[in-house]
């Protein structure tokens, strides 16, 4: 059995069931109906599910992940110390905006594993940047008063030492 996913632009993606099962929303659509209405919506190949908030480019990227994880369990929970597999890190990349799109779509589509990976991706982009660098990267305006800034600098002054630990 396969399921057709329709992106925001109307592009159709034909995916096999194990791949689609990675997407929580799709799973809910397929089995949720079974549960609530007493019959399965997806009985044949004609089933299409519209994912109205996901653009084609992001959807195709997400499906790559789903395809990769169709037979194995992704890292879903736990310890922030856990290392993601190399494939995952290469997949998520370093493009902040793309990661944000993926994160948003993963949230919308209920894909916990991908959600975590996207969070990790963002963290990796932020890693090693100083406050000014983060502001530049994300277009954030610093809203501290001068006094607060001085206090904060005193309080967090160690981070300079962090930069060059022997």
């Amino acid at each position: 059995m396969s399921i057709t996913l329709i992106s925001k632009e109307g592009a159709q993606f034909l995916v096999s069931k194990p791949v689609a099962d990675r997407i929580g929303v799709v799973r809910d659509c397929a089995y949720g109906a079974d549960f609530w209405l007493g019959y399965a919506v997806a009985t044949d190949d004609s089933m299409g599910i519209t994912l109205a908030n996901v653009t084609s480019s992001i959807l195709s990227k997400i499906l790559v992940w789903c395809e990769h994880y169709k037979d194995m369990e992704p890292l879903v929970d736990g310890d922030s110390n856990m290392e993601f597999p190399e494939w995952d890190m290469a997949y998520i990349g370093h493009d902040m905006n793309q990661i944000l799109f993926v994160l948003e779509a993963a949230d919308y589509l209920h894909i916990p594993g991908l959600l975590l990976l996207a969070c990790k991706g963002i963290a990796d982009v932020l890693d090693g940047r100083n406050p000014r660098g983060i502001c530049d990267l994300l277009g954030i305006v610093m809203d501290f008063s001068h006094r607060q800034e001085v206090d904060m600098d005193k309080e967090n002054g160690y981070w300079r030492w962090f930069l060059h630990p022997t």
Partner: protein
């Protein structure tokens, strides 16, 4: 992560009014009434929802007048009550439209109106139309315009993800950051500050770093248990007696950390506390003056009772930084008239209220010091020759002296409680654990005393002075650590699995099984007298514990070791324990009945356990497995003599030894191999100490070195003693060392360290 719905809940606020929000969306999916996200949620950057492409349904929208259109197109700066998406909200802040307006004003009238026309018709379009228009414009663009677009896009597409996503996701992102970046993230803006100072984040950070080395960043932070400050008058003895810090082998967890804030610290500095649990200090339940003021104070007290974890982390980080940078304050305690030979300190005793240091010296005294003031509290006299070894706990002090005796003292009042005689030469080392006391002597033997019954037996095997002993509960913490009734009938006071390391001037370290009273392993490698050993139990998963090969495989050395330990077996009949007259003869002990070499009982000395290689065919066979429950008196010596090797649970034991061959060696206890050799001292090493974070050594070259054990790298060299450094003790934030010149030095790496005696040598920062 159950945050899928959270986004949709906030998404509605982000619907942007710069375009009329499409209503009554038609989504072609027979969505069941499941709680899946709303199809109408707007997404990142104001992406309008999907409109059915094949049914060309026009979305009903109110037609604004041309004037209004222009207004909207040019001035989207949110009038109150208007909803804007994140992007347009920010644009309003930055005054982008004003700039645009200015450039427009420079144009002639007709051009201005035509441009305004384009903008307004774009603005009035539905999202699907907008897409179409944009695509059309994009195809019309030349490279220069595209490059303008891409430049502009890079700027305007930036977005603060933490305003976009709910806190749970933001915290998840932050949980992946290291402490440095987290600290920097706190300086971005107010919202980031709130998130990055989250107590849970910093608690996790503490858990990853305190008392262990973080696997990611390599930093480990000292535990720094603060002494409970009990309110005066209250009987503040904790129910659990504190362990002497220098002998604690069990892991401390950060839950033991005392985060209460005492009046000594200014509460105004602690603006935040996220743990809501009431503190014992909170006066809420206590009878006190009632009134609005005291209620307010109660509230304030409640708010300030615990320190934020970030504070806890940073305090320790500063101490660790001091260690790494070699920034310390040194104080000297003078009093001994001859060389100091041994010392121990305890900071977490329930009583007295100050940290205690006890030192023993060639001047035949042991002295008790108050480490806070540097004052000598008591001098213990009684030994007729030098005190070479000591250990104390909250109740007793045991000293070993060159006058051949050991003495048990009540160090609180200075009384000698008992004298243990038995060694025929001076006692140079001792260690006790519970009721078991081991002492090593110039007479080349180790005696193991039962402190309760006073019985004693002797371990023979070394061919020269025994300089150091270390007791090891090899079964401690493992599940099969159950006292066996049959064993306890005969040897009531030594638990199964109790082992003893001894190091000698003959250059060998031996491991003894205290139940069998036999040497079960030898560690060859040092080419000089071994002066000091220290057993360290590492957590599973730490650097060394998963390595299947020694980290620094010195193959020649390993081969030599292998050879020697196999080859020398038969020549060393002294491995056999000859039961002494007057000591307990183990019931049914093989050596009371069978001569070695008897068929069926391999002579003990021949079967020095050598570890089979992992690919050895018998390695995994059940026959090789050591018996899970330790039977002290079964005859399967073969099984017993092999230490638990495979399927090890619990901490990994490593042994650190310092020798007069100028090196320090780190041993894999189970494999009997040297994992690492630390070079650096230019003369012999008299003493070593180590904890999970670092290793320190004291040498005849008058220096102390601080090492990174995992890398075998010397971090700092402490210079200052005028004579050979003979003994050393390592604490969370200090080193205490004693020297041949009679001085005791305290090297403090604490955050606000001050010299203990202003009269003694002042602060020195390296």
């Amino acid at each position: 992560m159950e945050s899928a719905h959270t986004l949709s809940s906030v998404a509605n606020q982000k619907t942007c009014d710069t375009v009329p929000a499409p209503q009554n969306l038609l989504i072609r999916s027979s969505r069941p009434p499941s709680p899946s996200p709303q199809a109408t949620t707007t997404s990142l950057f104001d992406v309008p929802p999907m409109i059915n492409a094949d049914e060309d349904v026009d979305i009903p929208m109110e037609e604004p007048t041309a004037e209004e259109k222009q207004q909207i197109a040019l001035f989207p700066p949110a009038p109150t009550g208007r909803k804007l998406c994140i992007r347009h909200q920010r644009m309003a802040d930055e005054g982008t439209n004003l700039k645009l307006q200015h450039s427009l004003d420079l144009l002639p009238d007709d051009e201005r109106s035509s441009i305004a026309q384009i903008w307004s018709s774009f603005s009035a379009s539905s999202h699907a139309r907008r897409d179409l228009i944009l695509r059309g414009i994009l195809t019309m663009c030349c490279f220069t315009e595209l490059s303008l677009l891409s430049d502009q896009l890079r700027e305007i597409i930036r977005i603060d993800p933490f305003t976009l996503f709910p806190s749970e996701l933001a915290l998840r992102v932050l949980s992946y950051l290291d402490a440095a970046t987290l600290t920097r993230a706190a300086q971005v803006n107010r919202n980031w500050n709130r998130l990055a100072n989250d107590d849970v984040l910093w608690k996790t950070m503490c858990q990853q770093h305190i008392e262990r080395k973080c696997t990611k960043c390599g930093w480990g932070l000292p535990f720094l248990k603060t002494k409970k400050a009990y309110p005066p008058g209250a009987d503040g003895r904790p129910a659990v007696p504190a362990r002497p810090s220098s002998f604690s082998q069990t892991k401390r967890t950060i839950d033991e950390l005392d985060r209460d804030i005492y009046p000594t610290e200014s509460p105004s500095k602690r603006h935040r506390s996220s743990s809501p649990e009431p503190s014992p200090l909170s006066p809420l339940g206590s009878p006190g003056p009632s009134g609005p003021m005291s209620q307010f104070e109660a509230y304030e007290a409640q708010k300030c009772v615990t320190r934020p974890w970030k504070d806890v982390y940073h305090e320790r980080h500063q101490v660790e930084s001091n260690w790494r940078k070699g920034q310390y304050v040194v104080s000297t305690l003078k009093g001994h008239t001859e060389g100091v030979m041994c010392l121990q300190f305890a900071e977490d005793l329930p009583h007295p209220s100050f940290p205690v240091l006890i030192t023993g010296s060639y001047d035949r005294t042991a002295r008790v010091w108050n480490l806070e003031t540097g004052k000598e509290i008591r001098t213990l006299r009684g030994h007729s020759r030098a005190i070479r070894a000591l250990q104390f706990d909250e109740a007793k002090l045991i000293t070993g002296s060159m006058d051949h005796t050991l003495r048990v003292w009540n160090w609180r009042n200075g009384q000698c409680v008992r004298t243990l005689e038995g060694h025929t030469e001076g006692v140079v080392c001792l260690q006790f654990d519970g009721n078991v006391l081991a002492s090593g002597s110039v007479d080349t033997t180790v005696k193991v005393w039962n402190l309760r019954t006073g019985e004693c037996f002797t371990l023979r095997g070394h061919r020269d002075w025994v300089n150091a002993v270390n007791i090891w509960d090899s079964k401690a913490g493992s599940s099969d650590h159950i006292a066996e009734p049959s064993a306890s009938n005969q040897l009531p006071d030594i638990d199964a699995g109790k082992m003893l390391f001894s190091a000698s001037d003959d250059g060998v370290i031996r491991l003894w099984d205290l139940n069998l009273r036999q040497c079960v392993k030898q560690y060859h490698g040092h080419v000089g007298q071994v002066q000091s050993i220290k057993l360290l139990l590492l957590d599973e998963g730490s650097d060394e514990s998963d390595g299947t090969t020694p980290q620094e495989p010195d193959y020649a050395e390993i081969a030599a070791q292998f050879q020697s330990s196999v080859g020398e077996g038969p020549d060393e009949p002294e491995d056999l324990v000859t039961p002494e007259v007057g000591t307990i003869v183990p019931f049914n002990h093989p050596y009371t009945q069978l001569p070695s070499g008897m068929p069926g009982f391999a002579p003990v000395s021949v079967s020095i356990p050598t570890v089979p290689p992992a690919d050895h065919p018998g390695f995994d066979s059940p026959a090789f497995a050591p018996s899970a429950t330790y039977e002290a008196h079964d005859h399967e010596l073969q099984a017993n003599r092999r230490l638990p090797l495979q399927k090890r649970t619990g901490p990994l034991p490593i042994l650190i030894s310092g020798s007069l061959d100028n090196t320090i060696k780190v041993w894999d206890v189970e494999r009997g191999q040297c994992m690492k050799t630390l070079f650096g001292h230019i003369e012999g090493v008299w003493a070593v100490d180590s904890d999970r974070l670092r290793l320190v050594s004291a040498s005849h070259d008058r220096t102390i070195k601080v090492w990174v054990r995992e890398q075998g790298r010397c971090l700092t060299t402490l210079v200052g003693h005028r004579g050979a450094v003979t003994c050393i003790a390592l604490g969370d934030d200090k080193i205490i060392s004693g020297s041949d010149d009679g001085d005791i030095k305290i090297w403090s790496f604490a955050r606000d360290a001050k010299p203990i005696l202003p009269l003694s040598s002042g602060a020195v920062a390296a």
